[in-house]
């Protein structure tokens, strides 16, 4: 997308400018001088505000700042704009503005970051206003042409009508005139009950190319004269590159250059990636692994376990009453220790970026969840100012949080900087991707529950020990050292609040940060917190001799939205009716990303260790649902991702390195292991919650609780792979 911003206009310049475009001249002359400038898309079509471009053929181009990575936000955001714009959905297309363009226009498209299930909920307000603003301007342009009040004009599917005089026109015909109008200061958004495009399970806008091989992912970018690079970073995080013997590979076929990438990595640049990778594997490399080479999963586990001790310092994240005293004086107490491992995102497309660096320009093409963060990485790595850099977003082959980080972008620029004028595509092997993730943080949790003589839960002490993501990635977000996000799902209030009222509650976090870099992994801290809390709730229910659903319900009186989704899954799975012979049920609920979710599973277990998941029911209340078909897919996908992590995931550390290298040692669920997910959507309105992540929180505990129901055995650590439990 190019932009052609007119300079500040005087009458003469305006007439010439309008004539050059060849449309709307007579109308344009009525526009007061000093009004807004017309901004044009690459094909010359005018912007009607930053979010909408209307072409003469009535095609509406909707700008999308957030990244599509499979979650469907591109289509959902377009629906939100189109709803207010009242355009013809069949004529809608989308385009990404670049971060460079946005920065040059004072961030007119707002935040590009696409994480935390924020794609829709955090931009719905201003993108709808963008659509409504354009609608008002387009109608006003028609009214001006007809010399009638705008209030007498109506619009439907991009056709404007003045009923009294029987005249109609289209958005495409009035776009030029509309572009010259002053945008309204304020616009009124539709009442959700009047939505006709939002709330419909419309087909995605980006499917066709994904079925023919035509979709361009980062790995598919082709530029004239482009070379390919393969890279190895020190396998021990924090270690350095000591030396390498370039002479050994310099003569290999296709090899152009071997380059040092920062202090820690080396890359081979070749004509093809296969040649680059072959040479990289033959390249003798000496690493300076440093002290972290002494770290293992065992040493991390030991360190985290020490943090479970009350004598160790911890941050208090949620507290009421006096849990420690209540536990000390309780009639009965239950204690359990759980753990959750590192997980790799394992996006289907390994990390990659293509960079072209010259002395006065640096451009990058990549899949990213955060165009602006990628842009900042390009600035930093190239040393060039913002006006000389840009990032062109292409479709990412999965994100799940991994592509919110910019390590691979920085590397690509550092390689390209050593090949000025030549575009270089840097692609990680799967092995490199497994070794250099930004892993789901590792934690342990000790929970103690206490009952009075009547089996009422009177106290709960929830003590986490382990890694903080914000400490590593956003230290500025720490609050006096505490990571508030560590309490996602068990917080007192906010978008990830606990759903239970316990008279004496203490939730705390002993922060311990091993050297393995953590990252935002789909569901983030909701994952382990939901497993810990929901499996322990199940333990408490059984200890009290109560049904796990009824036990929860008694604690949820002050949490009606949490309770409503739990009730919805219970009803759908038939909790109060017997399960089929040999089939057992588990249930779980959590709040995350502003949404309330619950899940229930029906499983059978053979030989004590072979699990068949027969049925999954999942309920969600995200406030509003923009596209139910996509929400359904996010719910089902969350179960696939969450159960893959439960059964097959888990990254272990040996000699400071991640041991898993590929899908043979870090497996993922297949179609035969996954039942249909029956989703129950209960949007209650009045708030906007996220959809892509929260459901993952209930996937594992629903199955683990069903496993207990089936076998009487508690599983308190992940993955099941390491306990010789697998799919039947």
């Amino acid at each position: 997308m190019n932009k052609h911003v007119s300079p500040k206009m005087n009458r003469r310049a305006f007439v010439i400018g309008s004539a050059a475009v060849g449309a709307g001249l007579a109308i344009g002359l009525d526009i007061p001088f000093g009004g807004p400038t017309v901004v044009r898309a690459a094909d010359g079509s005018p912007e009607i505000g930053a979010w909408v471009v209307v072409r003469p053929d009535d095609t509406v181009v909707i700008r999308i700042a957030r990244s599509e990575m499979g979650q469907g936000s591109l289509t959902g955001l377009a629906q939100l704009v189109a709803e207010e714009l009242e355009c013809d959905w069949s004529k809608v297309t989308t385009e990404y503005p670049t971060p460079g363009q946005s920065v040059a226009r004072k961030r007119v498209w707002g935040d590009f970051s696409t994480g935390g299930s924020r794609g829709i909920r955090s931009s719905q307000d201003y993108v709808r206003k963008g659509g409504a603003t354009a609608r008002v301007m387009l109608i006003e342009a028609a009214a001006n042409e007809w010399k009638v009040p705008a209030s007498e004009c109506t619009v439907a599917r991009g056709v404007i009508t003045h009923k009294a005089s029987g005249r109609t026109t289209t958005y495409g015909k009035v776009a030029e005139a509309a572009a010259k109008l002053t945008p309204p200061a304020d616009v009124k958004l539709k009442d959700p009950k009047d939505w006709t495009i939002v709330g419909k399970g419309l087909l995605r806008l980006d499917t066709a190319d994904k079925t023919t091989g035509a979709m361009t992912y980062g790995i598919d970018v082709k530029l004239p004269g482009m070379l390919n690079a393969a890279i190895k970073d020190c396998p021990v995080f924090g270690g350095k590159l000591k030396s390498y013997d370039e002479a050994k590979v310099a003569g290999m076929k296709g090899v152009k250059k071997v380059v040092k990438v920062g202090d820690t990595a080396v890359a081979v640049v070749a004509d093809t990636w296969w040649h680059a990778k072959t040479a990289l594997e033959a390249l003798p490399i000496v690493w300076d692994e440093g002290d972290n080479a002494k770290v293992s999963s065992e040493s991390i586990a030991k360190w985290l376990a020490e943090g479970l001790d009350d004598g160790q310092p911890a941050y208090v994240g949620n507290k009421n009453g006096d849990a420690k005293a209540a536990i000390a004086g309780a009639a009965k107490k239950v204690e359990a220790v759980y753990s959750y491992p590192y997980q790799n995102h394992a996006t289907m497309e390994p990390m990659n970026a293509t960079a072209l660096y010259t002395a006065d320009k640096c451009e990058v093409w990549c899949g990213t969840q955060n165009g602006e963060a990628a842009f900042a990485a390009v600035l930093e790595a190239s040393g060039l100012p913002a006006e000389k850099c840009d990032v062109h977003k292409v479709m990412p082959g999965g994100g799940f949080g991994r592509r919110g980080q910019t390590d691979y972008v920085r590397q690509a620029v550092m390689v390209a900087k050593q090949m000025p004028g030549t575009p270089v595509k840097l692609l990680w092997s799967r092995e490199e991707d497994m070794a250099h993730g930004r892993y789901h943080p590792i934690t342990q949790c000790k929970m103690t529950g206490a009952f009075d003589a009547n089996n009422n839960l009177v106290a709960l002490h929830y003590r986490l020990s382990g890694q903080s993501i914000l400490f590593s990635l956003r230290p500025e977000a720490l609050q006096n050292g505490m990571d508030p996000a560590a309490f996602q799902g068990v917080a007192q209030s906010g978008e990830a609040a606990i759903g239970y009222s316990v008279p004496n509650l203490l939730v705390e976090h002993a922060m311990r940060n091993p050297h393995v870099p953590p990252g935002f992994w789909r569901g983030v801290n909701v994952n382990h917190n939901a497993i810990y809390m929901e499996c322990f709730m199940d333990e408490l229910a059984h200890a009290a001799g109560q049904d796990p659903l009824e036990f929860r319900r008694k604690l949820m009186g002050n949490h009606p939205k949490h309770l409503a989704v739990l009730n919805a899954v219970a009803e759908k799975i038939g909790w109060n009716t017997p399960a089929p012979q040999g089939v057992y049920r588990g249930i779980a609920q959590v709040m995350g990303y502003g949404s309330y979710v619950a899940g229930a599973a029906e499983i059978s277990v053979t030989e004590g260790s072979k699990i068949k998941v027969h049925r999954i029911v999942a309920s969600t209340d995200p406030g509003y649902i923009v596209n139910p078909a996509q929400v359904e897919r996010q719910i089902a996908g969350s179960f696939v991702y969450g159960l893959s992590a439960l059964f097959y995931g888990g990254c272990t550390v040996k000699d400071g390195k991640i041991e898993q290298t590929n899908f043979d040692t870090y497996n993922s669920m297949r179609i035969n292991e996954m039942p249909k997910v029956e989703s129950v959507m209960v949007p209650s309105g009045g708030f906007w919650g996220g959809v892509g992540e929260p459901t993952i929180g209930v996937a594992a505990p629903a199955v683990l609780n069903a496993y207990f129901a089936a076998t009487g055995k508690r599983i308190r650590s992940v993955p099941l792979r390491d306990q010789n439990i697998t799919f039947a």
């Binding site: 023919t212 996006t347 289907m348 497309e349």
Partner: protein, 149 residues
């Protein structure tokens, strides 16, 4: 040098005989619809047809593929008409990120040419591709839609 017949066209490619077919297709023949996911024949993102049989192209060398009829995702549509699997994928909105779907579609197309009306058990056995987005439900529904058409 190798001569490969891809999508009915003969390509004379400057590749070593032990180059994985995947990379010859992607980098030398320039057909990038076939995807790299693992390089060890685990994930299925690189699935193509060799003489009509679904194969993981990362695990086959160029020399093994010579003389065989190779079909990639780009060659599945014939004369501008999409294959019924592609049509069903669009109608049922199967892909999420879509990266694995070239391989998924090729695997499903091969299954349907062998078993036009596959049971769930047939699908479970034949479709072993990884999809990290978790599109399995839509994949299964789309296959049954085609089979019942």
């Amino acid at each position: 040098m190798a001569n490969l017949t891809i999508n009915g066209k003969t390509f004379t490619l400057d590749v070593e005989p032990d180059t994985p077919l995947l990379w010859a297709i992607r980098e030398n023949a320039g057909l990038s619809g076939t995807k790299y996911g693992c390089g060890i024949a685990q994930c299925g993102a690189c699935t193509v047809h060799l003489d009509g049989v679904a194969m993981r192209s990362c695990g086959i060398t160029v020399s093994e593929a010579e003389g065989k009829k190779i079909t990639t995702i780009e060659g599945l549509a014939v004369g501008g008409t999409l294959h019924k699997v592609q049509e069903a994928w669009i109608a049922k909105d199967v892909p999420q990120c879509g990266y694995c779907q070239s391989g998924m579609i090729m695997a499903v197309a091969a299954l349907l040419s062998e078993k036009p009306k596959p049971t769930d058990a047939d699908i479970d056995e034949a479709i072993t591709n990884i999809c990290r987005c978790g599109t399995f439900q839509q994949v299964r529904e789309a296959i049954h839609t085609i089979a019942s058409a």
